[in-house]
Amino acid sequence: MKKLLIIMAALLLPLTAAAHGPSPQKVEKEIVIKAEPAKVWAVLKDFNNFSKWHPSPEGAALKSVDDGLMKFKYEYTETKLAFGDYNSYLTVKAGPGAGESTVTWVARFYRVYRLNPPIPEGQDDESAIKAANGVMDAGFPNLKRLIEEGK
């Protein structure tokens, strides 16, 4: 009986993994880096650098790189972090000062719990937003240091 339940649970997993709550969540942040946009973009667009600045890189995948718009897109195909269906992009623009760049980071994602309320603790919208904020709060200083100090 226990074995059967495990098999049934395994069969259900792919179905539930595809669904999610009705409202996508958003986190958006900006940082100023003391370097020309071309230099910032060269570091950012190279996915080999990703794990040097992005926390919890396991399960993240590059989606696209747009040199014209200086837009870098990636997603999590799987992650242990407290969100699901996470996709994100970063863009580079000149300014505010001479020789400076502003990087904007936008993430769209859903909470982990994918069915009707009540929602278990740690799997709600608030937890997902906290996790996405955590990624950016750790990732941005890393990216700034990597570009400004080369480490």
Binding site: A18, A19, S23
Partner: protein
């Protein structure tokens, strides 16, 4: 006592007539944009593509349905389990329909007498009498019902069941499912041609659009589009279908006769709800990530403008009025 006509000189009468004519000619319908992050609706005047009013509604507004006469608009508030009814002449909320479920998709019957509400979590669709909103019928459908359209005669309702990968056809008199049509993976938005012959289902995970031949009740084409498509709208002549690609940050333009994409238009980030404005031949698409609406010229397929709205604009459903209120 002199008659009115003798008081007005000929040029004055001509001027008044001209004013009346200009007003009629310039009066354009409005577009209603749901802003998930601001809990509001931005009202865009199509005449000059500017927001003329912002109306506070419930939490997490997503779906929109505009009455045929343009006088009422229904908004689904998925996070506060309610529908806001807007009075479009006053641009304010004139009523609220409280629900127990989570409303997402909305559509009105052609005579505006019935509002269909897709309840995401309860896997059901409600048919609410718009003259007495306490009068409700329900029908169990597939898993996570999302987008809906109604046939021209109002007798059939089409529902995209996102998590069961099908479109349900419902007989609206008996409120019973006639048929399930299998489509691509994760159908979300639906669109119907103005002659009612074709229904388009947008498959989010399939990166495609399924074309349903209504007469045959079957899919006769599957068209690859951009990354994570969400919603679609059909030109009034049925020749073009416009699809918003949420992760492609673009709109795919489909030649409906050839069933293929012939143009891809870059728009603002994370486009969701999309609508064709027949009065000025422009396409309006809500950009969730940029808090704007992108405007596209339907003749040249070129982006025309970007209109700032509230936060996380979505506008799921038919959000452009056919006539001014």
């Amino acid at each position: 006592m002199p008659s009115a006509s003798t008081l007005l000189s000929t040029p004055a009468i001509f001027g008044l007539l001209l004013c009346a004519w200009v007003n009629t000619a310039l009066a354009q319908p409005y577009a209603y944009i749901t802003n998930q992050g601001s809990n509001s609706v931005s009202v865009i005047d199509i005449a000059d593509d500017k927001v003329v009013a912002t109306i506070p509604v419930g939490k997490g507004p997503v779906g929109v349905a505009v009455a045929g006469d343009g006088k009422a608009v229904y908004i689904s508030n998925v996070e506060s389990n309610s529908i806001s009814i807007l009075d479009t002449q006053q641009n304010r909320v004139s009523g609220e329909i409280k629900l127990t479920g989570s409303p997402v998709g909305l559509v009105l019957s052609p005579d505006d007498s019935t509002l269909y509400v897709a309840d995401w979590f309860e896997d059901q669709v409600l048919a609410i009498d718009t003259r007495d909103t306490t009068s409700r019928r329900t029908i169990l459908v597939g898993t996570a019902p999302a987008g809906m359209v109604v046939s021209k005669d109002g007798r059939q309702l089409y529902i995209a069941n996102r998590d069961s990968n099908d479109v349900a056809i419902v007989d609206t008199d008996r409120l019973q499912i006639i048929q399930h049509i299998a489509v691509g993976k994760h159908p979300y938005g639906l669109a119907i041609s103005s002659d009612g012959a074709k229904v388009y289902a947008v498959n989010v995970y399939g990166n495609s659009v399924s074309v349903i031949d209504v007469k045959r009740s079957s899919v006769n084409a599957t068209i690859p589009v951009g990354d994570h498509p969400y919603c679609a709208t059909v030109s009034p002549d049925g020749g073009r279908v416009y699809v918003s690609n949420t992760q492609g940050d673009s709109v795919s333009v489909i030649d409906a006769n050839a069933n293929r994409v012939f143009a891809t238009i870059p728009v603002n980030n994370t486009p969701e709800g999309i609508g064709y404005s027949a009065t000025n031949h422009k396409i309006y698409v809500a950009s969730w990530a940029d808090d704007t609406v992108s405007v596209i010229d339907a003749v040249s397929n070129k982006p025309l403008a970007s209109i700032p709205t509230g936060k996380q604009s979505r506008s799921f459903g038919q959000f452009i009025a056919a006539t001014p209120p």
